[in-house]
């Protein structure tokens, strides 16, 4: 919802011609008498929703108010808010005074690479390019390695797929969007987040809890939105090249072109890895000297990958009253994993995953001339995704054809303190799936058509800057259940003072599960799939509370953030791996819930040295066949400490991230087929992960060297019964720790602005 406002504001801001803008600069006066620009100060017309923020140099551009005289309100965290009566068009410079008077000490208005706002009504964290560059490689899944809210987990030991978890629940319960248009849906669930190259991304917003109804029905735990580089902010040319110790190559090239009123971006990405690596996984016990030797397990530690993707955006800027843009994307990926070529071909366990994905999406926005608060937007997206996944004898094939339309109208009543949004959305997804292998009911070209027609409306009430409430409801009709799903949402924010924000959220969301595509990691096992009943849509309530507090210590700003969220399922498609050698999918009978509590602190210890620390407790329970248990392979405790140091002008940048991953429950499993031995249910060992990176910046390019998993911690015997891939005990999906050991990489970024 805030997102939409922002998008529309951006549209408004970019669409307006110069004559209708008021410009100026927001600065503070340093004790030395110098002016220092304030970046990120909010400039709004009092009582309206028309506003902007100042840029790095303190400059702001705001559209002219509807009438004069009016009051301009300028706010910035840590500074006294400022009001000025504006009688005519002109240039207005604003001097803010610090609200924290520390004599003779300069209060730094530094911009952090990860920001938690105290003004946004929704609990949203923004990750900027600076933060993204702290982890060089390679795609969206790595972008969260310095972030405590989103956890990245390996799903199996053969496909190299990574998934995210938020609030203790799988990534499928988080709505992932690109520029607010659905990105990872349907059969893209398992590999989708690795499809977005990190260097294409300008920023990421993470919304915890139920967000706005405007963006759809699927955000059970939250929303992750990514913004690609825009034609107005992208470098003219950006080239990134990466190589790691095992020989994985990554290349990204971003180009910008302007053609009259049209601006265009072209992004390309190539990833190539074609070597057989098998350092880990096996143990042989030498009885003569009573020691264990760590060897390979004859399975590739990481699959061979060939990946090419391309994105082309066209943006029209010719008319002040409307804007439009078109984006086309294409992706081809091949993953080849399983046993090494030393194993004879006829016996070899092969993992072969191919994905072809084509996508076109567009956005239109129009504002009512002279009333910037009233606008309309139309988003459309068309997608074709073809996937084949072979895991030994399990063979899954799927085709997804999707169309999406979202029409949003924004208006206000009396003044922009009362904003109304309403609209209509239509999702149409057709899945054609085939599955053969370890399953009680194989199927061939089974077609499912999902049509979701939705109406939504949302009302935002604002009382000054300190109180804000957004209520919304959407009703989505789903053709297969022939039922309306009513999804109410509520978000409110209260600022008791300028440094504190308190937020509450509650909401209901639903989604339709695609069990084979979403759980393809479990196909890397000898488990027999049991799917007998029709699966219902997953529905859950989410409730959350958040407290953000900015503090000053020794003249430096810090942030403390406390979160508590609960997700309560009304229905869930339970993925049951509790019985050895079986994988069952069924509708939840009983309770299923996830509680997540997180505490974060961010502080700049001294010039250029930032510390971020977080601790998180996830308590996730689901009822498996009448018995309530802790969710498997989900660590209850996690901690993260990130330290970064940058020298003057960021010429050298050092980054160190330390992760603690607590114990997770591993369900009982068969050790082998022949003797029928079992390993009973147990808790995994907790472990630590350390990542580090050093970047040296030169005038036009920068060079980085880094390492992931520096302690080289790997899961011992990640593949159960690896010697017999055809046995029912074989399992490569009980993964709670890394499969790859220490990984050193280096790379180069070349930018022309």
């Amino acid at each position: 919802m805030k997102r939409i406002i922002l998008t529309l504001m951006l549209l408004v801001a970019t669409i307006n011609t110069k004559a209708q803008q008021i410009k100026g600069r927001v600065v503070e006066i340093l004790p030395t008498g110098e002016e220092s620009p304030l970046h990120g100060a909010n400039v709004v017309w009092d009582g309206t929703n028309t506003g902007t923020t100042s840029n790095e140099q303190g400059f702001y551009v705001i559209s002219e108010p509807e009438s004069y005289p009016t009051t301009m309100v300028v706010t910035f965290i840590g500074y006294q808010s400022y009001k000025k009566e504006i009688k005519e068009w002109g240039h207005y410079d604003i001097v803010l005074e610090s609200s924290v008077k520390i004599s003779q000490v300069e209060v730094k208005g530094k911009v952090n690479t990860t920001q938690i706002s105290t003004l946004d009504p929704i609990n949203v964290q923004t990750i900027s390019t600076g933060e993204l560059e702290k982890a060089a490689c390679c795609n969206l899944s790595e972008s969260f390695s310095t972030n405590a809210t989103v956890d990245v987990v390996f799903t199996d030991a053969v496909s190299g797929a990574k998934q995210i978890q938020m609030l203790g629940l799988d990534g499928v319960y988080t709505q992932i969007t690109q520029e607010n248009i659905p990105l990872v849906r349907g059969i893209a669930s398992s590999y989708g987040i690795s499809y977005v190259p990190g260097t294409w991304i300008e920023s990421i917003q993470i919304i915890k809890g139920s967000g706005s109804v405007v963006n759809g029905f699927e955000s059970l735990t939250g929303q992750i939105n990514l913004e690609y580089y825009k034609p107005e902010s992208a470098p003219k040319l950006f080239w990134n090249s990466y190589v790691n110790q095992e020989g994985k190559l990554d290349n990204n090239l971003l180009l910008l072109k302007q053609n009259g009123d049209w601006k265009s971006n072209l992004f390309t990405h190539i990833s190539y890895f074609d070597r057989e690596i098998d350092h880990h996984g096996g143990t042989t016990h030498d009885h003569t000297i009573h020691t264990d030797h760590h060897t390979g397990d004859k399975f590739l530690d990481a699959p061979k990958v060939k990946h090419v993707s391309i994105l082309n955006r066209w943006q029209y800027k010719g008319n002040p009253n409307y804007g439009m843009q078109f984006i086309a994307k294409a992706l081809i990926e091949e993953r080849l994993g399983g046993q090494i070529s030393e194993v004879p071909k006829e016996d070899r366990y092969i993992v072969d995953i191919n994905n072809y994905l084509y996508e076109i999406f567009s956005k239109f926005g129009a504002i009512q001339p002279n009333t910037p608060g009233k606008s309309a937007g139309l988003q459309t997206s068309f997608k074709l995704h073809n996937q084949t996944a072979i895991f030994g004898i399990n063979n899954y094939k799927a085709l997804q054809e999707s169309a999406y339309v979202n029409l949003i109208r924004q208006t206000y009543i009396n003044n922009t303190n009362n904003i109304f949004k309403y609209g209509f959305s239509q999702y149409a997804d057709r899945y054609t799936e085939s599955f053969s292998g370890n399953i009680n009911t194989p199927f061939n070209n089974q077609i499912r058509l999902d049509l979701m027609s939705g109406l939504f409306s949302e009302y935002t009430f604002k009382s000054g800057d300190f109180f804000n409430i957004t209520t919304g409801i959407r009703a989505d009709y789903y053709n297969n259940t022939k039922k309306f799903n009513y999804l109410p949402r509520l978000n409110m924010k209260y600022n008791p003072n300028e440094k504190t924000a308190f937020r509450l959220s509650a909401g209901r969301a639903f989604r339709i599960a695609n069990v084979f595509a979403e759980n393809s990691s479990f196909l890397a096992s000898g488990r027999t799939i049991d799917l007998v009943e029709d699966l219902n849509p997953e529905i859950a309530w989410n409730y959350g509370a958040n407290l953000t507090y900015c503090f000053y210590l020794n003249g430096r700003e810090g942030t403390i953030n406390l979160d508590a969220y609960r997700t309560d399922f009304e229905n869930q498609v339970v993925v049951d791996i509790e019985t050895p050698s079986e994988l069952s999918f069924y509708n939840l009978i009983g309770s299923s819930s996830a509680n997540s509590v997180q505490a974060d602190i961010m502080y700049e210890l001294f010039d250029g040295f930032d510390v971020k620390a977080a601790y998180k407790i996830n308590d996730v329970h689901t009822t498996y066949n009448g018995e309530e248990k802790i969710s498997p392979l989900t660590p209850k405790n996690r901690a993260l400490v990130n330290m970064s140091y940058a020298t003057n002008f960021d010429k050298w940048m050092f980054d160190l991230t330390w992760n603690y991953i607590g114990e997770s429950r591993v369900p009982s499993y068969k050790l082998d087929d022949i003797f029928g031995d079992f390993r009973s249910e147990h808790m995994s060992d907790p472990f630590y992960l350390i990542n580090a990176q050093v970047t040296k910046k030169f005038k036009d390019f920068s060079v980085y060297v880094g390492g992931e998993n520096l302690l080289s911690y790997t899961q011992e015997n990640p593949i159960i019964d690896a010697a017999n891939p055809t046995s029912s005990a074989f399992d490569a999906s009980l993964i709670y720790a890394p499969v790859m050991g220490r990984m050193i990489y280096t790379g180069l970024r070349y930018k022309i602005k």
């Binding site: 600069r25 110098e34 002016e35 840029n55 790095e56 140099q57 400059f59 003057n648 002008f649 010429k651 030169f698 005038k699 602005k753």
Partner: protein, 115 residues
Amino acid sequence: MRKLIIFLLINVITVNLYSQKQTVQIKTSAECEGTCCKDRIEKEMQFTKGVTAVNLDIETQVLSITFKTKKNSVENIRTIISNIGYDADDIKANRKAHDDLPSCCQHLEFIDPEN
């Protein structure tokens, strides 16, 4: 070991003693749309020897720059600015360098309004 530390300390101190810093303000002709001029000059200055702080005020086009006097001089910095394509105090911009700048970074007066 101890000797080494003392030696290093003395080194640091002497280096600091000799690295006198000077802050000057230079009036430039960096007047252009957006932050293009500012970015260009600041970037160049950040990678100029001895420079420890730099800021170009867009409104006044005055560049405030701090540098180590041992490593650089005001004259040299003015020359560098001229070679980027902007006037620096009394030193005129290198015309060729200026014309090679992207159009958004060129001085407004130099751009033919017909274009």
